[in-house]
C-alpha cells in the first residue's frame, strides 16, 4: 500500500497544516495591522483600535457559538435574525417590567434573553436533528421567521429601550474595566468558556467527532442528534449574549438589526480555520476572523481606495478567498 509513503509525506504536511490553519488567521491579523498603519497611521490610535475591536465583539461572540455548530458539521444562517429578535424580545420584556421592577428589569431581561436565545437554538437544533433536514434549509427558514418576528414586534419601526433604563444599561457597551471595554471582556470570557467546552470536555470531543465523520460517531455510540442540538443551543446562547451587549449601543432594536451578520459570522469562522464541512473547531481563530473583518471595514472607511458602501462585497469576497486557501493548502 501507500502506507509508508503517506506516513512520510504527511508528516511534513501535518507540520505545515498546523502552521497554516492554527496560526494563519493571526498572521493575517498582524499583516493587516501593519498594512493599516501604513495606509493611515490613525488606524493604530488607541481610540480607533478600541472602537473597532469593541464593534467586532458581536460577531466574535456569535462566531464562538458558530464554531460549535460548524464543528459539528452543521450551519446556522439564522444568527443575524435571531440576534435582532432576541434584542427586540429583551427590550419589550424589560420595558414591560420597568414600572414594577425599576432597574432590576435589566438582570431579569438578561436572564430572559438568554432563555430566548437558548430556545431559538433549540428550535433550530430539534428541527435539524429530529426532522432530519439539512441545517442550511432549516436555518434559512428560521432566518425568515425570526426576522419577521422582529419586524412584527416593531411594526416595521424600532423598539426603543425605556428611557429610565438607558443610563443603567449604557455601561454594558460603553463601560470599561481597567481600560478594557466591557464587551471585549465579555467576548473574551465567552471564548475562554467556549474553548474549554470545545477542547476539554467530552461534549467538545464528541462535537468534533460528529463533524469529522458522522458515521464514525454513530458507530462509536455517540448520540449525533443530541450533540448537534446542543451545539445549536450554545449558538443560541451566544447570540443572546451578543444581543445583550448590542442593545445598549443603539438603545433600540429594529428590523435591520443584525442584517447580514450570518455572512460575517460564517466568514469569521471560516477564515479562523474551521472547515465548513465540520471537524476540529478553531475558536480563537474565529475571534481573529471577526476582528479581521472589522479591521478591513474600518480600513475602508479610513482610506479612500474603496467606498465603504462596498464593505459587504469585500467580506463576501473574503469568505470565498478563505475557502480557496483552505482548499489549496490541504493535501490532496
Amino acid at each position: 500500500m501507500t502506507d509508508t509513503t503517506s506516513e512520510l509525506v504527511s508528516k511534513e504536511s501535518v507540520f505545515q497544516r498546523i502552521n497554516w490553519v492554527d496560526l494563519g488567521p493571526f498572521i493575517a491579523l498582524a499583516v493587516l495591522v501593519v498594512v493599516g498603519y501604513l495606509i493611515n497611521p490613525d488606524f493604530l490610535s488607541p481610540t480607533n483600535i478600541t472602537n473597532v475591536v469593541t464593534r467586532a465583539t458581536f460577531i466574535g461572540i456569535i462566531a464562538v457559538g458558530a464554531t460549535f455548530v460548524i464543528s459539528s458539521g452543521c450551519l446556522d444562517l439564522s444568527v443575524g435574525s435571531m440576534a435582532a429578535f432576541a434584542a427586540g424580545a429583551m427590550i419589550l420584556f424589560m420595558n414591560w417590567l420597568v414600572p414594577t421592577w425599576g432597574a432590576n428589569a435589566i438582570p431579569a431581561g438578561i436572564v430572559f434573553v438568554l432563555c430566548v436565545g437558548a430556545l431559538c437554538g433549540l428550535v433550530n437544533g430539534l428541527v435539524v436533528t429530529l426532522g432530519k433536514i439539512e441545517p442550511f434549509i432549516v436555518t434559512l427558514g428560521t432566518m425568515g421567521v425570526y426576522r419577521a418576528f422582529i419586524t412584527f414586534m416593531s411594526n416595521g419601526g424600532s423598539i426603543p429601550i425605556d428611557r429610565s433604563l438607558r443610563e443603567p444599561f449604557r455601561p454594558l457597551y460603553f463601560g470599561t474595566v481597567m481600560g478594557i471595554p466591557i464587551p471585549v471582556l465579555v467576548c473574551a470570557a465567552v471564548a475562554i468558556v467556549g474553548s474549554f467546552i470545545l477542547y476539554k470536555t467530552k461534549f467538545g470531543r464528541r462535537c468534533a467527532a460528529v463533524g469529522a465523520n458522522v458515521e464514525v460517531a454513530r458507530f462509536s455510540g455517540i448520540s449525533v442528534g443530541r450533540i448537534r442540538t446542543l451545539a445549536f443551543v450554545i449558538q443560541g446562547i451566544c447570540v443572546a449574549i451578543a444581543a445583550i451587549c448590542y442593545v445598549p449601543r443603539l438603545g433600540a432594536a429594529t428590523p435591520t438589526t443584525g442584517l447580514l451578520w450570518e455572512l460575517q459570522v460564517i466568514t469569521a469562522v471560516v477564515i479562523g480555520g474551521t472547515a465548513l464541512r465540520g471537524g476540529k473547531g478553531h475558536i480563537w481563530g474565529s475571534l481573529a476572523g471577526a476582528v479581521i473583518l472589522e479591521f478591513i471595514a474600518n480600513l475602508m472607511v479610513l482610506s479612500d481606495f474603496i467606498s465603504e458602501y462596498l464593505v459587504a462585497a469585500v467580506q463576501g469576497v473574503i469568505i470565498i478567498v478563505a475557502m480557496l486557501i483552505q482548499r489549496f493548502s490541504r493535501r490532496s
Binding site: 506516513e7 467530552k202 467527532a209 464514525v216 455510540g221 455517540i222 471537524g279
Partner: protein, 525 residues
C-alpha cells in the same frame, strides 16, 4: 532462503515485452519508499505483485500508471523511455489502473459512471443508447447484476467494485493493473472476474495483479514479483513457488501457522441470543445464539444480510426482533451506546468510513466510545488517554513511529488493531467483528486471529463476519451461512469447509451434504 528459489528466465520469446522498469524507485523527501525495481512486463501474461502492506506495491503501480513520477531509474514502454504526464496520459497510451478504492459518483447511474469523461456522442449529443448497449455487454461479461440505469448509490459494495472494474476494461488497453480487485467480492464473483482476467491475457493484454489472497495469486498468475519493505525481492515463475514460499518471501521469515488452534464448539449456556430478527429489506426472521468460548462465523455473499443483522441489532438501521438476550436477560438496544451497555462491541467492516476518525490523533480515536466512563468529570485529560493508548499499543502490538500520528497515517493493519483496541476498551463480553482482516497483510492478519483466539479463551463470545472462506474455515468453530436475508445453514467443527459454505451461500438450506459433490462447484481454490 530466497536463494533456494531460482529466478526463472523471462517467459517464451513470442510474447512481446511491453514495459520495462530499470532501477526504478521513488523517494519522498529523505525517505525512499521503493528502490531499484527491475521489472519486465510482457503481453499475454498475468503478473502478480505481492507484498505486505507498505512493501511498495501501490507505489509501484502508481509509477507504472503515471500517477507519480519515478525518482530514479527509467520506465521503458514499447521500446521508448517514457515519462507519463499523469494517469490520463498513461491511459491514452494504453495503461490503466483499476483502483482498490471505489471511485464512483454515487448519484450518477451505472452507465454515467462507466462513461464519465468519455461519453459517447453523436453530432455532439450524448448517445445514451450506444452507451447502454456497451454497458450491458460489459456488465454481463463480468456477471455483474447491476442494471445500467441504476444509481451507484443503490448498489452493493461488490456491485460497485464490478462497475469500477468494468470501467477500467471499457476500452482496450495494453496493460491493465488490478489493485486488490477481489477484496470485497464473494467467491462466485471472484471466479467470474478471474475468468475475465484470463480472457484478457489470452487476448495478449498484460495484466498486473495485486492481491493479498495468495490462493488467488497461485491460481491465476503466470509470474509473481515479490516486494518487501520497498525492495524488490524477485520475480518468480508461478509454477516454481507455493503459497508457503510466497508468504515467506513477503514476510522475510518463516510464518507460523496463520490460524490459531480451534477451540471446538461450546456447550455452555448461550451468552447472546437473538430471536426472529428482521431488518426490512435485508434480513428475514434470523435467530441464532452465540456461546462463550467459541468463534461463531457468519458467511454468505455480500448483500446476503450478514452486516445488516448486526447493524439492525445495534439500532443502526430499523429492525425488530422477538427477543434479544444477553446472559439470559432480555435487553433493549436502540443504539451502539446501548449495545456497549449490554456488553456488545461491534467492529465495522468499514474502518475508514465508520470506524476511525482518519484525521484525528490516535488517543482521541481510541477513547471516543469510552468518554462517558473514562472521565468521571466533564473535562478530558490527556494523561489518562495517553496511558490508555500506551496500553493498547502494547496489548495489540500497534506499530507507530509517533503517538502524535493521525489514525489515517497508519497502515491498514495497524488501523485495524487500533479499532480492535477501541472496541475492546469497552470490555464487551460479546465481540462482533465484521471482516476482521479486510485489506491487511498476512503478518497483521495472523495477529488479529490470535487476539480473537485469546478473547474467546477468556470466555467471551466472538462473532466473525467474513467474505473470506479461508478465514471462516480457519478461524471459526461454528459457521452460520446466510442467503437472501435468511440463515440457511449451520456448520460445526469439521463440517466447516469452503465447499459447504459456498453451497449454503449459493443454493441455500438442505444443500449441505455430500462434500464430494460440492467439490465440483469450486474450481479455483
Amino acid at each position: 532462503m530466497e536463494a533456494a528459489l531460482e529466478i526463472r528466465s523471462a517467459p517464451p520469446a513470442e510474447t512481446a515485452e511491453l514495459l520495462r522498469l530499470t532501477g526504478a524507485g521513488k523517494q519522498y523527501g529523505p525517505v525512499t519508499v521503493l528502490r531499484d525495481v527491475n521489472l519486465s512486463i510482457h503481453g499475454g501474461e498475468i503478473h502478480a505483485i505481492i507484498g505486505e502492506n507498505g512493501a511498495g506495491k501501490s507505489t509501484l503501480m502508481r509509477l507504472i500508471s503515471g500517477h507519480i513520477q519515478p525518482s530514479f531509474g527509467t520506465i521503458n514502454y514499447l521500446g521508448e523511455d517514457m515519462a507519463f504526464h499523469g494517469p490520463a496520459d498513461a491511459e491514452r497510451r494504453g495503461i490503466v489502473l483499476v483502483h482498490q478504492e471505489i471511485l464512483l459518483a454515487e448519484d450518477l447511474t451505472v452507465v454515467e459512471n462507466l462513461f464519465l469523461g468519455r461519453e459517447v456522442t453523436r453530432h455532439g449529443v450524448i448517445d445514451d443508447r450506444t452507451m447502454e448497449q456497451i454497458a450491458i455487454r460489459q456488465l454481463a461479461a463480468l456477471g455483474c447484476t447491476a442494471r445500467p440505469w441504476q444509481l451507484v448509490r443503490e448498489l452493493s459494495i461488490a456491485q460497485r467494485q464490478m462497475v469500477q472494474i468494468a470501467r477500467g476494461l471499457l476500452e482496450e488497453h495494453r496493460i491493465v493493473i488490478f489493485d486488490e480487485p477481489t477484496a470485497v467480492l464473494t467467491a462466485s464473483e471472484v471466479d467470474l472476474l478471474l475468468d475475465k482476467i484470463r480472457a484478457l491475457r489470452d487476448r495478449g493484454v498484460a495484466v498486473l495483479y495485486i492481491s493479498h489472497r495468495l490462493d488467488e495469486v497461485e491460481a491465476l498468475a503466470d509470474r509473481i514479483t515479490v516486494l518487501r519493505d520497498g525492495n524488490m525481492i524477485g520475480t518468480y515463475d508461478a509454477g516454481s513457488v507455493t503459497q508457503q514460499d510466497m508468504a515467506r518471501l513477503m514476510v522475510g521469515r518463516e510464518l507460523s501457522m496463520l490460524y490459531p488452534h480451534k477451540r471446538g464448539t461450546s456447550a455452555a449456556d448461550p451468552l447472546f441470543e437473538v430471536e426472529h430478527l428482521s431488518v426490512p429489506g435485508f434480513v428475514h426472521e434470523a435467530s441464532f445464539v452465540a456461546r462463550p468460548g467459541e468463534v461463531l462465523g457468519f458467511g454468505g455473499m455480500i448483500g446476503a444480510g450478514r452486516t445488516e443483522i448486526f447493524e439492525g441489532i445495534l439500532g443502526l438501521r430499523p429492525a425488530k426482533a422477538a427477543a434479544i438476550r444477553v446472559n439470559g436477560k432480555p435487553v433493549q438496544i436502540r443504539s451502539v451506546a446501548d449495545g456497549f451497555e449490554a456488553g456488545i462491541g461491534y467492529l465495522t467492516e468499514d474502518r475508514k468510513g465508520k470506524g476511525l476518525l482518519l484525521r484525528e490523533r490516535l488517543a482521541p480515536n481510541l477513547v471516543l466510545s469510552a468518554l462517558s466512563w473514562l472521565y468521571r468529570k466533564i473535562y478530558t485529560d490527556e494523561r489518562i488517554e495517553n496511558a490508555e493508548l500506551n496500553g493498547a499499543i502494547r496489548r495489540y502490538d500497534i506499530r507507530v513511529r509517533s503517538k502524535k500520528l493521525e489514525a489515517g497515517q497508519l497502515s491498514g493493519g495497524n488501523q485495524q488493531k487500533l479499532l480492535l483496541a477501541k472496541t475492546m476498551l469497552q470490555d464487551p463480553s460479546i465481540v462482533i467483528i465484521d471482516e476482521p482482516t479486510r485489506g491487511i497483510d498476512i503478518g497483521n492478519k495472523s495477529q488479529i486471529y490470535s487476539f480473537i483466539d485469546e478473547l474467546v479463551r477468556q470466555g467471551k463470545a466472538c462473532i466473525v463476519i467474513s467474505s473470506e472462506l479461508q478465514e471462516l474455515v480457519g478461524l471459526c468453530d461454528r459457521v452460520l451461512v446466510m442467503k437472501d436475508g435468511r440463515i440457511t445453514a449451520e456448520l460445526r467443527n469439521g463440517d466447516v469447509t469452503e465447499n459447504a459454505v459456498v453451497l449454503a451461500a449459493t443454493v441455500g438450506s438442505g444443500a449441505v451434504g455430500s462434500r464430494e459433490e460440492n467439490a465440483r462447484d469450486r474450481h479455483h481454490l
